[in-house]
Structure formats: C-alpha cells, structure tokens
Symmetry: C2
Subunit: 132 residues, 2 copies
DNA sequence: TCAATTGCGTTATGCTATAACGTGTGCGAT
DNA sequence: ATCGCACACGTTATAGCATAACGCAATTGA
C-alpha cells in the first residue's frame, strides 16, 4: 500500500505531528490548527483516521494521543508489530520493533486460532535521560 | 503484596466484573450498580483504582474497559507482563503470559536504559469461535 | 449528464475521567 | 477519652476524548 497524496487537512495534521517532540491529543492538534481554519474536533479525527489507515501515524492507546511514524520511508505495515516506549517525564516516545516478540506473539495467536487485526504494545516509564 | 479486605464498594465492583463475560466500561459498571446505591462515576473509579492497585483487576487501554484478573489465586504482579487477546465479535478476553515476550521486551528496555513502570499488550481481532 | 464517492464544515451529543468540596468512621498516640 | 489522622464515601461540577447526523462541494467515471 502506497500512501496517496494527502489532502489539505491531512497535511496540516501530519505536519503538526511531524514537528511535535511528543505525542499530541486530537484536541491539542485542533488548538494548534485553529489559525489554519480548524474549528471542530471532527476535522482532526477525520484526518487522523486517514493517516492511521495510511500507516504514517500511530495511535497511542494508553495516553489517547497520536504520533507520526518514526519510519517516514518504509511502510510501517511491513515491520510487523510496533512497540512504543513512552516516557512519562518528558513525553518522548521511542518506536521500536522486535521480531522475536512478534514471533512469540504470533505463535501464541496461531496456536489459539486467534485472528489478530490490531495490536498495541506500549511501555510507560522513564527514558534514560529522565530516570534519576 | 496481599490483597486487603475489600470495602463494600470495592466488593460490589469486583463482583460485577467477576460475573461479566466480557470487559466492562466504568459507566456500564455504574449502571449495573444503581440498584445498590451507586449514583456517580467516581464511586466506580475509586473502587477500580484500588482493585487495579491490588492487581485483581486489569484495565484494557485499547477499549477503555476493565476485567477481573484471570488468576484469582496468584498475585498478578508475579507473572511479569500480562497480555490480552480481545475478540471484537464476542467481546471475550483471553489473558495470557509469555515469558519469552517478557524477556525480549525487558532486554530492549534494559539496553535502552528505559525504566518501565506499566505495560500494555493488547491484541484485538477474532477468537477461534468467532473467526468464520 | 448523472450517479457514486470522497472530503469538508457545522451542530449536537455521548462517552470517559477527574477536580474539588465536605462528611463520617475507625484507630492509634498522647 | 479525645485529638488527630488516614481513609472511604457521597455529591456536584467540569474537563477531556470521540462520534452521530446533517448538508454541501468537488471529483470521477460510466
């Protein structure tokens, strides 16, 4: 799946996420885009839905926020599972992939005949800089 | 950590979760307990906070819901990471543990000097019964 | 040209979670 | 015994996250 040309709203939302140092909530994105004509949450959520579908943005379920994918070039769907380490001090997020973890989880799913569609792996804690 | 005697509200919430076939949202729990005098969300959230702290209930971040721990006897903190397979058809949740997954994630965290505090592993899809 | 699709804007609403206040109860230390 | 503290509880209000439902405009392809 290649990413289509983004619409105006999608580009605006994507740019905001790309420039952000940390994940942003939909409402934070909305506030940052009021100067560009955004007035309602749905404008943000609709853009986010598409960006998530294209795989260029990830949703962090545990903090109700969104981040740009750390791999601008490759297609994120090809990495297998994606995991996130989220620092609760500085807010920074490290996106990573571990094939062994993927493999073990896939093995469990297969052996239980569970058809996976979406997965969430999020670790919250403190990054190297923030840990005392 | 051993689980203290539960208060009345905590017991009521725990019982509702234990009897449920699927995870419940806080507001669903509230509705089920109106006959027992519950009137406000905080009554549920406060009980849930304690039950989570005691490790007898888990929160499913990806669906904003709560389930009773599948291991009534043991202390859930001793399992290492907990993972959940959530069926989007029937709502059923399977709680499982995989030491190899734990080990790999811990290894990544250690090598990146990331101090983990809470982790979320949730797979959404369709269980064996529901998959066509 | 017509119909279907897609994006967009707006209003309203629903769901999830917490802040802030005050009350009552049990219990240990003085 | 009573004072002070910790904790659970109840209530009202509010904050934060997400979607339903409507209609309009632009695009595309039969």
């Amino acid at each position: 799946m290649t990413t289509p040309i983004l619409t105006k709203n999608q580009s605006l939302v994507f740019d905001v996420l790309t420039k952000a140092e940390a994940p942003l909530s939909a409402y934070t994105i909305l506030d940052k885009l009021r100067d560009h004509g955004f007035r309602a949450p749905l404008q943000v959520y609709r853009a986010l839905d598409k960006l998530l579908e294209y795989g260029v943005v990830h949703r962090l379920e545990s903090i109700n926020s969104f981040v740009a994918c750390a791999h601008p070039d490759e297609n994120c769907h090809s990495h297998g599972l994606v995991a996130f380490a989220i620092c609760e001090s500085c807010g920074q997020v490290i996106e990573f992939h571990d094939h062994e973890v993927d493999h073990r989880l896939m093995h469990w799913l297969k052996s239980h005949k569970f058809k996976a569609e979406k997965s969430t792996i999020e670790i919250r804690g403190h990054c190297a800089s923030c840990a005392a």
